[in-house]
Amino acid sequence: MTDYTPTEMMTIAAARALRNGDVCFVGIGMPSAAANLARLTHAPDIVLIYESGTLGTKPSVLPLSIGDGELCETALTTVSVPEMFRYWLQGGRITVGFLGGAQIDRFANLNTTVVGPYDKPKVRLPGGGGAPEIATACGEIFIIMAQSKRSFVDKLDFVTSLGHGEGGDHRERLGVKTKGPTRLMTDLCIFEPDPQSNEMIVTSIHSGVTRAQVTEATGWPVCFAHTVAETPAPTAQELEVLRELHARTARAHGNAA
């Protein structure tokens, strides 16, 4: 079996979750790598949208920022940012949105705003950006986050974007009709919401990872599904395409590969 890193496994697991018909609202970093990996492997017709206004973009290298020239040059067309948020996101045209964050709780609510109190934060994080509305307007949400007790917490310091709220039918009670987080990909495993409680439970563990490792890296008493799968290891093709993408990107950004 080929060697691969936990981050590669996480990215590949996220790419696999995307379908060829999806219209995907992509963020920078791992979501961008995952979405483009999907496009370059099993989902050639996936539509990638970046909040900078680019519709149907097909970058050959990954952008460093959300509005890199590569995104516009390879897009079907580019619209203004108000139009992007009004017609395309709020208009309900996106099937999958990717999110990540500094903190996540068991109901996949996310915090990218502050650690500590809002008015006197211990760490001032970047803020929500598009997340508060991505979280409720996209058909469903995929989350990619490296797992640790510091980031998978019992209680968020701040709810930047809604996941399943307090669980159960909380989204519905808030008048939200979209599914919310349906999949959380970490470097250790895959979580999916429990059909009743909507708590995120482990449904697949990456090859070579133990339940104890997952439990140890989660800040709440983590639940496992009745049947937990083993995530198939990355295929040689998946790894090759992902690594080529990263290498092209590093060359294009003027960094050593």
Partner: protein, 286 residues
């Protein structure tokens, strides 16, 4: 009617201490040269509005020009934190910086409402999020037909909007292409505006009948500053200098290295220094 002038004159005439200033550009066409000029002219107590405060506001905040920042995402994209902004927020250095925080959707809608002459923007946002609990400028409003609850934020109406664009023509009209962000809305929402451009041409020539153009009578001042978006980029001219963004992290991490960089590259330079980064290239060339 817009007037063509030097960037020094444009900032001198249009940016005042205490102003609410929106410098926009979404990764693309960020008006760095104009930001440097505002710093050189030592403007104070500015309220800096921008969806994505990045290096340009890190520099203004670090040089003590700002009292407040209105934003929806702040950081050095793909690199990390803004150290000067954090130093101001966490330690009040060189001055305290108040924050008013929104989501992208709220900011985009607020600029749109400003351009549209409305007092507030109405959108479906912030559901289940904590920001409305800490920002009194986020309220709710009911659809009078369905009863559905919607979010409202005040329209953005900056005193001055500053943007960078590819071209102006001799009549003072401005053409923007590529990732156009909220620049048009920011200019139309603002009382005054400064547009720096890569070049002033006789005529835009062949173009889409629906090109994104700001007519000259919507713009206050135009200054030709080739390379003026560097290290951001200008579609059709030059690429983003990603390496500079990465290098900025070390420069800005330390107060002294920041001060030294600003002295050497901003205080002791003028807008003409940006010309070194300018390069006209065919749109489809790469």
């Amino acid at each position: 009617m817009s007037r063509v002038m030097s960037l020094e004159e444009a900032v001198e005439a249009n940016v005042r201490d205490g102003d609410t200033v929106a410098m926009e550009g979404f990764t693309h066409l960020i008006p760095h040269a104009a930001g440097h000029e505002v710093i050189r002219q030592r403007r104070k107590r500015l309220t800096l509005v921008r969806m994505t405060p990045d290096l340009i506001y890190d520099q203004l905040v670090g040089m003590g020009c700002a009292a407040k920042m209105v934003f929806s995402w702040t950081g050095n994209p793909g690199v990390g934190s803004l150290h000067r902004v954090r130093d101001a927020v966490e330690n009040g250095w060189p001055r305290p910086l108040a924050l008013e925080e929104h989501s992208h959707a709220a900011m985009a809608n607020a600029y749109e409402a400003g351009a549209a002459g409305l007092p507030c923007a109405v959108f479906r946002g912030y559901i289940g999020a904590d920001l409305p609990k800490v920002n009194p400028n986020i309220k709710t409003i009911s659809c009078p037909f369905t009863g559905q609850s919607l979010s409202a934020v005040p329209a953005l109406r900056p005193d001055i909007a500053i943007i960078h664009a590819q071209r102006a023509d001799r009549s003072g009209n401005v053409l923007i292409e590529g990732i156009i962000g909220v620049q048009k809305e920011a200019v139309l929402a603002a009382k005054r505006s400064i547009v720096t451009v890569e070049e002033i041409v006789d005529d835009f020539g062949q173009r889409s009948p629906n090109a994104c153009i700001l007519p000259s009578w919507t713009v206050t001042a135009i200054a030709e500053v080739p390379g003026g978006a560097f290290p951001s980029y200008a579609f059709g001219y030059y690429k983003r200098d990603n390496a500079f963004y990465t290098a900025w992290d070390a420069i800005a991490r330390d107060r002294d290295s920041f001060a030294a960089w600003m002295k050497a590259n901003v205080l002791e330079k003028g807008p003409e220094a940006f010309a070194a980064h300018s390069r006209k290239r065919a749109m489809a060339a790469e």
